[in-house]
Amino acid sequence: MRFSTLLKKPAEWMRTTGPENDIVMTSRVRLARNLVGFPFPGWAKKDDRTRVMEKVRPALEELAEMKDSFSEEMTQLTAIEKQVLVERHLISREHAAKGPGCATVMNRKQTVSVMINEEDHLRMQAIRPGLQLLAAYRSLDQIDTELEVDLPYAFDRQYGYLTACPTNLGTGMRASAMLHLPGLVLSEQINQTIQGANKIGLAVRGLYGEGTEALANLFQISNQNTLGMREEDIIAHLDRVIGQLIANEKNARMKILEDRPTMMQDQIGRAFAVLKYAHIISSKEALNHLSMIRLGCDLGFIPEEERECITVLLTEIQPAHLQISAKCKLSPEERDILRADIIRKSLIGLTPPDFGSILTNRDNDDE
C-alpha cells in the first residue's frame, strides 16, 4: 500500500464505534519485543539495526493480518509524512526522528502498526474504537504468537520479555485508553482524578503521550507496571478504573447541567459560533471547541450524525495533515487560515445546538 492510499482513508477506529464510545475515544495496546543476539536499537550500530530490520520486516509482511500493508523505511518518508503518522497515533514522536535501519509496517485498516527499531526491536500496537482493551490485546497477542515462530525473542524466565528500558520489562505491554473528560475539566476535578490514578499505578497523559499537553479535554490513561502481573489482569485493573472514570465523568456532566446549565450552553454555543464562522484558528483553540461540540453530541444538543465528522476533524486539522492537504509547506499563520477553512467546510451542515431540553431549568440557574 502506498502512502497516498493510507492518507485517503481515515483510520478504521474513526469511522466505527465501540463500547462507551461517547467517553472512550480509543483503546490501544502495545507490546515491546526484542530479538535474541542483537543489541537494543538505542545501543546497536547501524549494521545491527539494519540486520534486525531485514529479519523483522519480511516476517511482519508475511502475516495474514498485514496483507497488502503499508511498509516503509523511515529514511524513505518525508518529515511531513512521518508527522502525519504521529498525528494518527500510528508511530511515536521518537520513531519519527529515527534514521537508517528503522521502519514502520501497518495494516490497511490502520488498526495494527509496528515500529521496527524504535526503543525496542519491535513495538507493535493495536488500536480499537471505544473501550475494547482486551479485544485489542487479543488481536495483538495473536500476531505476537505468529511472529515468535520466525523471530526468536529475548525472554527470561524471571524477567519475562527483555526490553531496553526496565520500565517495560515482563509483559512489555502498555495498555491505554483515550478518554474525553470535559465534565471533569469544567468541574475542576481533573487534577484530583489524575493524582488518584497515579496513586494506583496508572499514568495519565495528554493527547500525544508523555510530556504533552491535554488538548481537547482528551487524556490517555495507561498502566505503568508491566512486571509481575498477567496481561489480562493489567487490563482488568485498567478496565475497572476506566469504568469508574466514566461514571465520574457522567456525574460531573449531569451536575453541571443541573447547577450551571447556562455555563454549559455558553461553552457549547460559543464553540459552535467560533468553529462555524472563524477564518483564523489555532490548533489548540480548534481542538478545545471541537471537544465542546462532541460534548454537545453526547448530551443530545447536537445531532449524533456530527460525531464522526468531529472525530475525523480532531486529526485532520493537525499541522502535518493540513500541509499534506495543501500539498505544500505552510507557515503557522497559513495553517491557521487553512484550518479554519477546513472546519467551516466540514461543519457546513451543522445546525445550531438545540438546548430545548435544559431551557426549563433556566429559572433555577444561579450562575
Binding site: R157, Q158, G160, L162, G170, Q195, G228, M229
Partner: protein, 180 residues
C-alpha cells in the same frame, strides 16, 4: 542532572536521606515526582522509594570499584545510569546486582508471570514460574553475577572465609569469560 526515574527530564526535586550510614539521594523531575506522589505529603513514603532505588543511587564513598561491562555488547554500568536503558538482553544478567530493588520500585514485583514464548513451555506454567529459577546453570555470566551477589552477602554477614572462597571463584570465572 537528569531525573533518576525517566532519565530524560531535568531533575528539579531532590531528596536526601541517611540510611545505614550511607547518604542516599533521589533526583526527580516534576512529572515523575507527581507520578510518585512526592508532591503530595500524605501519599509519599521516601523510605519506600529509597529502599527500591537505594542501590542505584547510593553515593559511592569507598574506592571506585572495577566497573562492570557487558561482555556481549560492551555496555557499562555508567551507561545505564546515564540512559536508564540497557544495551542488550544479556545486560540484565550482567547488571543484575541491585536490579531487583529497582524493579521492585518500578513495578512492585520482580518476577514475570504473564505470557511466555512457546519455546519456554515451563514459563507458561504458572507453578513453574513461581518456583526458584537458576539460569546460572546454563549461563556463565548469570553464574558470575550470582557469585558476586553471594560475595556481597557474605561480606555483609562477616563470613570472611566464605567471602575469600567466592572471591577466588569469581576471579577464576572472570578469567574464563575474559572479563576482569
Amino acid at each position: 542532572m537528569n531525573c533518576d526515574i525517566c532519565h530524560t527530564e531535568k531533575a528539579t526535586i531532590f531528596f536526601s536521606q541517611m540510611a545505614e550510614g550511607k547518604l542516599q539521594k533521589v533526583n526527580l523531575c516534576k512529572v515523575c515526582a507527581d507520578d510518585k506522589g512526592v508532591t503530595d505529603p500524605t501519599g509519599f513514603a521516601l523510605a519506600d522509594m529509597l529502599e527500591g532505588m537505594g542501590k542505584q543511587t547510593a553515593v559511592d564513598t569507598g574506592p571506585a570499584r572495577n566497573e562492570l561491562v557487558c561482555g556481549s555488547c560492551g555496555f557499562t554500568q555508567t551507561d545505564f545510569k546515564k540512559t536508564g536503558r540497557f544495551g542488550c538482553a544479556d545486560c540484565y544478567h550482567v547488571f543484575d546486582e541491585g536490579l531487583d530493588g529497582l524493579l521492585e520500585a518500578m513495578h512492585k514485583h520482580t518476577r514475570h508471570v504473564g505470557k511466555a514464548p512457546q519455546s519456554f513451555p515451563e514459563a507458561n506454567d504458572r507453578a513453574a514460574a513461581s518456583a526458584p529459577v537458576s539460569v546460572a546453570e546454563t549461563n556463565p555470566r548469570a553464574r558470575l553475577s550470582e557469585l558476586r551477589q553471594a560475595l556481597s552477602k557474605s561480606v555483609e554477614d562477616e563470613d570472611y572465609e566464605e567471602a575469600a572462597r567466592l572471591r577466588d571463584a569469581i576471579s577464576r570465572l572472570e578469567t574464563i569469560l575474559g572479563e576482569s
